[in-house]
Symmetry: C2
Subunit: 265 residues, 2 copies
Amino acid sequence: MNILIVFAHPEPKSLSASLRDVAIRELEAAGHQVKVSDLYAMQWKSQVDRADFPALASNERLLPVAASKTAFATGTLTDDVKAEIDKLQWADTLILQFPLWWFAMPAILKGWVDRVYAYGFAYGVGEHSDRRWGDRYGEGVMAGKRAMLIVAAGGWEEHYSARGVNGPIDDLLFPINHGILYYPGYDVLPPFVTYSTDRFDEMRFAATARELRERMRTLETTPPIPYRKQNYGDYHIPSMELRGGIEPAGVSGFALHQLPHSPDS
Amino acid sequence: MNILIVFAHPEPKSLSASLRDVAIRELEAAGHQVKVSDLYAMQWKSQVDRADFPALASNERLLPVAASKTAFATGTLTDDVKAEIDKLQWADTLILQFPLWWFAMPAILKGWVDRVYAYGFAYGVGEHSDRRWGDRYGEGVMAGKRAMLIVAAGGWEEHYSARGVNGPIDDLLFPINHGILYYPGYDVLPPFVTYSTDRFDEMRFAATARELRERMRTLETTPPIPYRKQNYGDYHIPSMELRGGIEPAGVSGFALHQLPHSPDS
């Protein structure tokens, strides 16, 4: 299998970097090919701006969606973005690894998404009609591929629990898992999350590394989060609202968009 | 009143910029003082890295939380960050205005949060004991101040509705409203969100501008989102899990962290 790890931590000796290396070693030992986009080491440019669209005339207004569409269609995206798109096309599995900063990904990784997810590639794909609303949410260029998050959170695990004050971790990660990974078609595996990351001793690191190696060994067999596909009857088209009454009683919010049980179970 | 608008769109002629100017004119006409941090115009640096901590020895490992704590305590944050902290201290009300990209803020604005929200300023403040868990979620340096989001979403409003496929907009914005604004103490007003932003004609712009001006006129009187305070009995300390049974039947997820009704109603 070909695996791309997009990694976003500024310190090469960080806990995140150590866990990344554990994952790489395990994957390579199993015979997989691994590429790493180490965004800080690459000095990745974070912000979408005019420089991303060198073919855009200097007197033309920058409409990011339109500019992205034109640049992808005409092959005039910048070389750094093209290289990441090539890696995404090469990879069977994508792993995003980052520390959770302010309940979201670090800016540099958000900037990777904002810049690499071009219109015509990651969105704006497929037929829009009264039968389907684009190739997204379960369909798209990444259909058949897998993705997962490896996240390091500074806070306590209880604070991210179902009733924890920060909000449940699965809900905090929904905009990424569903909105960034499932959107262009990935099957999204449950995230690997470590908590209280400033209190790691050697024993805890060893235990966490063991769990992470197990997750790497089961990348191909772990059942994905059973998000609902958009174009297969669960949603009204084009309002894309979930049909009434098809969810179990008491389910609301983000959880509406998962099947009650994995289709395989 | 002193109002800071932190603005994140790369195009000076964008819809977002036009709405920003509508807001500024309305606020200034009412006699308020307005400052704008136009992040793209300022060429704001997005990513947290070693350059943010000039006092950190070059052979020292970068632990972002520890480095932030030391730099804030010793006054060695960079000048651009210090200037933003000064503006936050000056402002009675903070407005974050941005286009919704991939269900979150653009990287450059996330980088403003990641860099400006220093340890000892926006987090890591107050007593941690069996009676309280820091000055956060309703307390903190911003207590008594107000904040709100102005968001432009490209997608359809229905897709962000309670049953919409993208997830409800209030849940998508919870990590920002609750996790970034309420966390250091702001009272958070309901967001001002416009949808289908690539289909704006003059009539729709005029109607949206009218609604936005009304929101600016009522900044001081609009009831904030009634998030629960952390240290006043609703949560177990230190697990910070909401006590059992205090929410209305059927409420779960992020909605747990709001009072069923505004305290004033």
